[in-house]
Symmetry: D2
Subunit: 284 residues, 4 copies
């Protein structure tokens, strides 16, 4: 029997750390399924990711983790070890539009998404039927001008109650409060319906239409307290022309949005992303 | 023997103008080689473009033009008629980088570009050898802080002397003065090395690197007096990732820039572009 | 009150037919919403498409149709007139995989697909639950070696009973018999999971894997009696690399397949496609 | 002072070889500039590539090579070590079309191509002027039905005389004989103007036109004795439609061809490609 795990490492000033950790893995007869290295010369930093399996008759997951922790103390690197057999628990926050949410649910049902959907939270009740028809819990938490703080507290409690690890904003049209950004730091993923940094904020398709651009895009990024300014994970575009009215941009954009969000979310779920300052390294 | 000509029309509030003009063309036994229509419902405007040939034994180009002008007075539309056998005369303005210029020259030599290159003007002398080796006139007009107005006057005189119709800014790193924008209104094409409206102004690749975007792009647009804000003609992108340093963006960007500029320039040379407010309709 | 209709015309040897028909439309005060022309010089053929509205207080749809038919007899062109307010009735034929079918159903529910789904037919019973949960009729018609003719007769009767106009093969893994190809000539659309003409027939992803290609694709085409050889409507590709195993090609391919099928189907539903010999002209 | 070198390794049945070799590099205080790993589970093979620098005051290139060779004998892996400061010498074989050749020459002049162009060989004399204007040697070796063997012998002798390592077929319209395929095994790169395996052999654009495809492509591959059947390195496509005549496919195709050939050639020049059976692993 095997334990599968992911190890993600970043390390400054020691380009040989990869072979050192590789040696540690070899010592425990770990089998290497994936291995990704990136050497950032300018910042003197290496980024490493392994997917390995270890034989439980040789060492337990806990034992390997314990020993790796000890081993790491003799070296100077940041690391993360994840039990690859445990799916991450995600919550999806939505408003009224269903396309991104439905894509996530369908992929999850078809086994393409390595995650458990813990719950759906919305500031509107519109998507309740859709969500519940897939057997998922739906929570309607209205957010009005006079209850923002309270509503966000309720949302946070919900996420904690559901043991949520990753929060996906699938066209959720509310600002995420600083306190939630902090609490789920590096684990809130948003899809913005423009090619950031163009068209930050509201109504990007209308702005794109008004400017007469010939490509529209979408951006998947981590959420930070500054609006639409977090580390970018993935982006893609679709060609448009003068015949496209704002409603056509919305329609075409839906397909890019779900595609870009899905890709970004999958990178996150597979622990392929390391953020450094306001940027992402994606190990694939 | 045939005369080839292009007719480009825009018309408000009369969707049937196309068949009326089509009837006019038929009356003169014009042969239709290309025909493009676009009906903009929201603005109640139709855009039309024909490439036709007329038999010179039946009517001369001048005669046809004269009659079309009379005919147009009975109707209410904007129009442009171009002798398709006459290549447009272009001037290319450059600074130090050669990739866009060289692409234009090579395409022209290979017969892919329907234009005559009248001259190359630069604020630096670096590309003289390259230009002259292709048998083209090169003019070095230095632009310094204290001679901007005078330099731009010299440039304008040059363009006029060379009978230039279309000015191509192929990575020309100077502001085009208002007076030149006016004089060549709708006939100055620029390539900007970002996906506008993102990264307006200087050093877009460095800004793209700093923001950590996952796609870089280029924009071909008409020049107006507001910097990087004119009507967009064409845009394209290239995928990048965390391994790309600023110099890699510059290198990858060069290929997008020349591709986007060429495409936009060809639309212009073939009279496919109609501008309306700050946007372009491209009839193809 | 308005009647909306589409007129699609192809005509040989008369480039001015467009303005003649345009004049006819103008005579009835038809309002032009869309107009597309393509002049194929080499084959001396013009292809035309209009979307127009006519005022029912001036003339009924039937009246306009009758008069157009009379008018057409004085000229020599092929034509098709379609009541644009009537959605086409489609049947979707599937086997075991659901992704293309589910995409079609979802788009239809979201109002993106201008069609009514009459029924789903499958040679397997696997997708019954999915189909019926969307309130659509599902028919399981097993096809075995010894009942092919009978099964196909049953399928044809079903399609006729449901008044089906367009048959969509959404990964239906059976040969369509000659008789059905004839009966629904020009109205059966297939998605093939390769970039035709590469990898005709079975297991294209395995063949693509074995050949070591760097792009995989999908092709939407009209079905003719020759396997995977009908007129191509739309194609697209996705980049792969050496890390992709056959099952990865299947997974990535699913997204291209549904995208390409949808696009091709929409062209068909909007009467944008004219076939000539074994090729398509797509008026957009 | 530094020596820069590339190490490319493939190894069966030992997933830990990466850290072992990494340890060897660390022992010599090698600085790691790039590191790429790919674990092919199905074939139990790992592919590894490093770009490293070593301090010449610690060990010479020859010394490091000698020691690595000894070290490799204690393990079971294939390897290649290349002095990264030495540019590969390439010969370009062409017929009459210049676009791929000119792109290679221009890139080389601009410092984008990590190679020295040793000579240009052609079966026609058409491109002599172009080649010689760039100061490069041009050899016209006519190939006629009755002198094929002799002509190819002359070509081989030329390539050997020029000390050529990599042969680039930049639209060279002759079959490469078995003997040359063998001699330069894994070092002859061809650009084929279709998306292989579609349209093998002559006139792929005409075939693509006749079939009515909606995408055309190009394929860069290693040459083997079977025509157009060698390991594929890179492919790309461009969208076309019904308005494209065969000559348009040729024109549009030129841009894809040079882009695809350049990318494939650069992978080769940077020693990123490992072939296994008839496929390529590209370490980037």
């Amino acid at each position: 029997m095997k334990n599968y795990l992911r190890i993600v490492v970043s390390c400054q000033n020691d380009v040989h750390i990869g072979s050192v950790i590789g040696g540690f893995i070899a010592d425990y007869h770990g089998d290497i399924l994936e291995e990704n290295h990136y050497v950032d010369r300018d910042n003197r930093t290496v980024y490493l990711r392994w997917v390995i399996s270890i034989d439980v008759t040789l060492i337990s997951y806990a034992g390997f983790l314990f020993n790796f922790e000890s081993f790491s103390k003799c070296h100077d690197f940041q690391w993360l070890m994840v039990d690859a057999s445990q799916k991450k628990r995600i919550a999806v926050l939505v408003s009224k539009t269903s396309h991104c949410l439905l894509d996530i649910i369908t992929r999850q049902e078809e086994g393409e998404l390595n995650a458990d959907i813990a719950c759906i939270v919305s500031n509107h009740d519109d998507l309740r039927l859709l969500v519940e028809s897939h057997g998922l819990p739906f929570h309607h938490i209205p957010v009005a001008r006079n209850n923002v703080t309270e509503a966000n507290r309720v949302i946070k409690d919900l996420l904690v109650d559901y043991d949520v690890e990753t929060v996906v904003l699938a066209r959720y049209m509310q600002i995420i409060p600083e306190v939630l950004c902090q609490f789920y730091h590096g684990n809130i993923i948003n899809i913005h319906h423009s090619l950031l940094p163009a068209f930050v904020g509201k109504s990007p398709y209308q702005k794109a239409f008004d400017r007469g651009v010939k490509l529209i895009g979408a951006t998947c990024h981590y959420v930070t307290s500054e609006l639409d300014a977090g580390p970018i994970i993935h982006q893609d575009v679709s060609r448009i022309n003068h015949t496209f009215k704002p409603q056509d941009l919305v329609r075409v954009g839906k397909d890019i949005e779900k595609k870009v969000l899905l890709r970004g979310l999958m990178y996150h779920l597979e622990d392929r992303i390391v953020t450094r300052k306001n940027k992402t390294v994606i190990l694939k």
